[in-house]
């Protein structure tokens, strides 16, 4: 606390000194700021922290006094007993040794440590509040700064001059004429820049404080529109952080790690892909291309002889080519070199392996295009075949197998339509079947479940009768569940599960 006051005093002193040594706008502003800052409550709060009582219903922090006692072995830590000293402070051990009552020194050896204890939530809240307070203070500071500067004519004119410059820059790029501000060209721009920056920062911070998505989005849109209007955009290293900050403010909640990593990965992969497929101008490639062009021109000079200037453009190249053909055998070698060179030139704009990559991608794509349309049919057909095989087992000569297959089909129906009871024995499934199935179905089901158990786990053959019973149950299940199924469910049952024929 004291330190902060001291710093403030030093600042004030410096401002005053500056003002008296050189009376200009800058020093005036500094002095004004130094004088006015403590008057604005949020700023005072930011500057002098605990000085300002927290407004509203800030929870009174619970303080816990912890007495830390050091070993009181040194003689300086105790003193003789005086009437009125609390009995608790008597150093009994030493007193017994020295045969007189000794008291532990309170101020010197007992430190009072205040430990503030907060629950996690209240600590968060407190942090949040202090952050908000800081934001508010900063906004006030920037607004005040901007307002003070706007009052000073130099800054005002400087800003106008700045805008004029901006118009000029825009006009040089776009074919549009702006109305200029009527101010002379030579104006000090430093103050104006400070003014504009302060106003901008105040705006951005407001967006952060409000944390209304709309506010931040509007601000971002305004920036984008302004940039479009002037036809001049900031360089990427300004634009990216600016819009990034605004997007952060627009988010309802701070970004989690998962989406952040996903976003970064996506951005990285896009960048990588772009770099791979469109590598842009590579310095090495450019140099190589330059060298080739030089060689080309040298060859052209050799061939044409007297022509001094380097051939440029298509016609000239063709001309060279015909000439070389006319020249006959002795120039064939040169011609070969020339062809070699032209081929080299075609490839040089991109690294050669990019082509292989492109070919591979193309092959992959065409293969996918050929295969994909048929894939569903292949898959569905395989499923259908499997289903038919299962159905074949229904008529198997071995009744046990048939009953097992039929009952498993019933189970498949029930599991697919949400009647299943997962890892429970089939005889216990009847409980879940009571609702939504026809009257008496549960009993028939449990009877069939017992038959199934006999068929699956016994070593003797079942009567033919049981197959009929199981078949009846399957038919009943099918009709009941098919009727109850919706359109989507029916499609699934028929084509995907191949349960219905």
């Amino acid at each position: 606390m004291r330190k902060r006051w001291f710093a403030y005093a030093v600042w004030l002193l410096l401002a005053a000194c500056l003002y008296f040594f050189e009376n200009n706008t800058g020093t005036r502003v500094i002095l004004a700021c130094a004088l006015l800052f403590p008057l604005i409550p949020p700023l005072r709060g930011a500057l002098f922290g605990a000085d300002v009582p927290p407004e509203g219903k800030a929870p009174e922090p619970q303080t816990v006094r912890v007495f830390v006692c050091r070993e009181a072995d040194e003689p300086g830590d105790v003193r003789a007993y005086r009437p009125g000293d609390p009995i608790r402070r008597i150093h009994w051990k030493l007193s017994a040794k020295k045969d007189e009552l000794l008291i532990r020194e309170t101020a010197a050896e007992t430190e009072t440590v205040q430990a503030e204890q907060f629950g996690a939530s209240s600590a968060d809240e407190l942090k949040n509040r202090s952050r908000k307070r800081l934001l508010r203070a900063l906004i006030c500071a920037f607004l005040l700064c901007a307002a003070l500067l706007a009052l000073i004519p130099e800054a005002n004119h400087g800003a106008q001059a700045l805008f004029n410059r901006l118009f000029a820059a825009s006009e040089s790029v776009n074919a549009y004429v702006y109305d200029r501000f009527p101010v002379p060209e030579e104006q000090p721009v430093f103050l104006a820049a400070v003014l504009l920056t302060a106003a901008l920062l105040a705006l951005v911070l407001t967006a952060f404080l409000l944390k209304r998505r709309a506010a931040a989005l509007c601000l971002a849109a305004a920036f984008a529109l302004l940039q479009a209007y002037f036809g001049l955009s900031f360089p990427a290293w300004i634009n990216i952080p600016l819009y990034g900050c605004l997007a952060l403010a627009a988010l309802k909640r701070p970004l989690g790690r998962g989406p952040l990593i996903g976003f970064c990965a996506a951005a990285l992969s896009v960048a990588l892909l772009t770099a791979l497929l469109c590598p842009g101008v590579d310095a090495a490639t450019e140099a190589a291309s330059e060298a080739v062009r030089d060689r080309l021109s040298r060859i052209a000079q050799q061939i044409t002889g007297s022509v001094s200037e380097a051939p440029e453009g298509e016609t000239e190249t063709r001309h060279i080519h015909t000439r070389s053909l006319e020249a006959g055998d002795n120039e064939a070698a040169t011609d070969g070199e020339f062809r070699l060179v032209t081929v080299e030139e075609e490839q040089i704009s991109q690294p050669y392996w990019i082509n292989y990559l492109k070919i591979a991608l193309l092959l992959l794509l065409s293969a996918a295009l050929v295969i994909l349309p048929f894939a569903p049919f292949v898959l569905l057909n395989a499923r259908k075949k499997k289903a038919q095989e299962i159905r074949k087992a229904f008529a198997s000569e071995n009744v046990n197998e048939a009953v097992c297959a039929i009952f498993r089909q019933v189970i498949a129906w029930l599991s697919e339509t949400g009647f299943g009871a997962d890892n429970r024995l089939y005889r216990e499934w009847a409980d879940t079947l009571l609702g939504g199935m026809p009257e008496g179905y549960a009993e028939r089901f449990s009877r069939c479940a017992e038959d199934y158990e006999e068929a699956a786990y016994s070593s003797h053959a079942l009567a033919e009768e049981k197959r009929r019973l199981a078949m009846d149950l399957l038919k009943e299940t099918e009709t009941a569940l098919w009727k109850a199924a919706g359109r989507k469910q029916r499609l699934r049952l028929k084509y995907w599960m191949c349960l219905y024929e």
Binding site: R408, N423, L425, E453, Y457, S458, S459
Partner: protein, 317 residues
Amino acid sequence: MRPQLENVLREVEKAIVGKRDVIEKILTALLAEGHILLDDVPGVGKTTLAVALSRAVGLAFQRVQFTPDVLPSDLVGFSMYDKASSEFVYRPGALNAANLVLGDEINRASSKTQSALLEAMEERQVTVDGKSYPLKSPFLVIATENSVGTAGTQHLPYAQMDRFLVRLSLGYPDYEAQMAMLRDRQAINPLENVSCVMSAEELLSLQREARAVTVKDAILDYITRLTMASRAHEAVEVGISPRGALFIDRMAKARAFLENRDYVTGGDVQAVFRDVCAHRVLLKESAREYTVDQVLDELLKKVENPDRRGFLAGLKK
């Protein structure tokens, strides 16, 4: 259920009212030729049950009340010098002449006595002075253990618990059963009403039949997966032993036989699993939030039952 077994059940129920499920389990254990550990508070009818069972089946009954000074020779007999013939004569102990032995409060016996009894249970013979004497067949031990007042007792070690086929507890009777019991015992001792409805030979043949019950591989697979899962469970220190797995199989067969089936289903395994395995599973010291029953229930819930496994295998094929 076979008529003979039904009769036995009815006779035993005369003495023990309202405990049909426990009596069924004991009959199952009897068919599976296993020994039973009854773990319960005093006075719920453990002894009455054993006596009634022995009377109904016509088994030779012996009861041993264990105390710290019961000696192994009391159980298995001893050799005594006979002056007349001047040689050692074998004097049979309590176990020799019995089909059904009730070992009351087995945890009060000294450990050497416990081990003598356990040898007899496992080998179905007793050895005295290097000579082995076979015991009567069928041979069944019903041991009781009190879970209260265990001060000064020798709790059965884990290895010895493992020899019992099942651990059961009777529990208190409900209101109806309690009322019926009080009403019945006004004049007569209900144990006297229990008549012999089956002979030991019949029991032996039933046991043979129970052993012939079919167990398909799907069921054996289920038992194996259950035991393996119990060993791999996070809260379990010692899981179900291979002997435990064998006992599950035997008990499930007996249950299927009791229900008049000649094949074992997954339901049989599930029904006997808790009783057979509850005393075979030791939990870790650190797993305080679990009880053995919870672990077993979780295993039953988690491990795929043979019905479902068959279904899933059919899907994969």
